[in-house]
């Protein structure tokens, strides 16, 4: 009498296991931003500024969990540093970049960018063909002695069409576009913000600090 040896797993189990593996591999999608940004083309403002890039901005990581699709983890890495350094160097004549303030030193007008919010939307969520990103930044302006002048919040937007099998790169591109939009917003509007304008005009007439 011969016994046919039973296979360890039935075809159906194999398929289910394969599907589970595929699902698990798509559980979290990682995006690491490595972008570089050009220096804005513009007439530089004749001021000295100190760009304060704190660790919270340098190491910003956004994690988002969705019920019906993969989770996302977006690591900004050096992208924020590159964006703000390039942007300020294009906007102002003298720029010093620091990651913390020394209370015994005097600085130029301190500009401290902060990430207030990051939101993303996928084609599944929005029922469109696009990955979309909204970034809310806040630029805090302080005098050279560290006294707050104003805080200017603004939102930047970027989107990129979906591409089959390239979700991470599509979201990275949408984020890159949002960051370029942020640069456009700062170049266009920051110096026209009344409190910012008044502060720098005060410097020009010699009443302000930090020039």
């Amino acid at each position: 009498m011969t016994h046919r040896r039973k296979a360890l797993l039935s075809p159906r189990t194999y398929i289910m296991l394969l599907a589970a593996m595929l699902l698990l591999s798509g559980c979290t999608k990682y995006v690491v931003l490595k972008q570089e940004f050009p220096v804005p083309v513009m007439q530089k403002h004749p001021y000295t500024v100190t760009l304060l890039l704190e660790d919270s901005l340098r190491n910003y990581v956004h994690e988002e969990k969705f019920a019906d699709e993969a989770d996302w983890k977006v690591q900004f890495g050096i992208a924020n540093v590159a964006l703000y350094t390039q942007m300020m160097e294009g906007m102002f004549e003298r720029v010093e970049v620091v990651n913390k303030l020394n209370p015994n030193r005097r600085y130029g007008t301190i500009i401290k960018p902060r990430m207030a919010d990051y939101q993303l939307s996928t084609p599944t969520l929005s029922s469109t063909d696009y990955y979309e990103v909204w970034i809310k930044y806040e630029l805090e302006v302080l005098t050279g002695k560290g006294t707050p002048v104003t805080s200017w919040p603004f939102t930047a937007y970027g989107r990129n069409p979906k591409k089959f099998g390239a979700a991470e790169s599509a979201l990275a591109e949408a984020t890159r576009r949002a960051m370029r939009d942020a640069a456009a917003a700062v170049v266009l509007d920051f110096m026209n913000e009344p409190a910012v304008k008044a502060h720098f005009q005060g410097q020009s007439s010699g009443t302000g600090s930090g020039r």
Binding site: Q43, Y130, P161
Partner: protein, 223 residues
């Protein structure tokens, strides 16, 4: 035997009919505001996709297609979009890009921008706007797998409509030279008698060729 030959002939006829129907109908119109522009030695053209429209954005594939067609088929000195955007950063981003030639003229009153534009040598900009959309679709197909292999049977079809506009600006004279509009529609089919045979209508590339050809009627290289 005779029956088999007749069936083969019938299939061939159906195939030819389908191939001929997977074509694209396109209509191209041109509106001139000024006589055409001449691209002098050292000057370049850039093809930019408009991204201000919230509902749609020009596909990168379409912008790349027009760029490649102008560069490779028509031999115009065209600069890559990304390079120009970086060289003029951030003044041609969706938030800041001028929407009219008057707005461009106003923007270029800034001497730093005007100088940069002169330095990089980009004389003409072609603004592309529009999108390819999917229209009606229908048909059905069923596929199966048996001991002898797989098979499919049925017919599927869908329509695509490509509507684009290209506005050509002279950035030295701050003039809108004119615009080209194209509307291309095509129906694609996938008939399947055992094996599915996709007959895809090249709607977007037909629109791209139409636009690129018309642009060359606006812009020509100096002899």
């Amino acid at each position: 035997m005779n029956h088999r030959v007749r069936s083969t002939q019938r299939l061939l006829v159906i195939g030819l009919c389908l191939i001929s129907s997977a074509c694209v109908n396109s209509r191209v119109e041109q509106l001139r505001h000024k006589p055409g522009g001449v691209i002098a030695k050292g000057e370049t053209v850039v093809v930019l996709g408009r991204r201000q429209n919230f509902r749609h954005q020009v596909e990168k594939d379409f912008t790349s297609c027009v760029y490649s067609s102008l560069l490779n088929r028509h031999g115009l000195p065209v600069k890559p979009e990304e390079q120009f955007m970086d060289e003029m950063f951030p003044w041609f981003q969706p938030r800041t890009a001028p929407t009219s030639s008057d707005a461009l003229a106003e923007r270029l009153t800034d001497p730093t921008l005007a100088k940069r534009l002169t330095d990089i040598g980009t004389r003409y900009v072609v603004w592309l706007d529009g999108v390819t959309t999917k229209g009606d679709d229908g048909g059905n197909m069923s596929c199966g797998v048996g001991p002898g292999g797989g098979y499919c049977l049925g017919l599927m079809w869908w329509e695509k409509d490509a509507k684009y506009e290209a506005a050509i600006w002279d950035m030295r004279e701050f003039q809108n030279l004119g615009k080209v509009t194209v509307d291309a529609t095509g129906t694609s089919y996938v008939p399947a008698i055992i094996v599915p045979v996709p007959l895809i209508a090249p709607t977007m590339s037909a629109a791209c060729s139409g636009v690129a050809k018309q642009i060359t009627e606006f812009l020509r290289k100096a002899p």
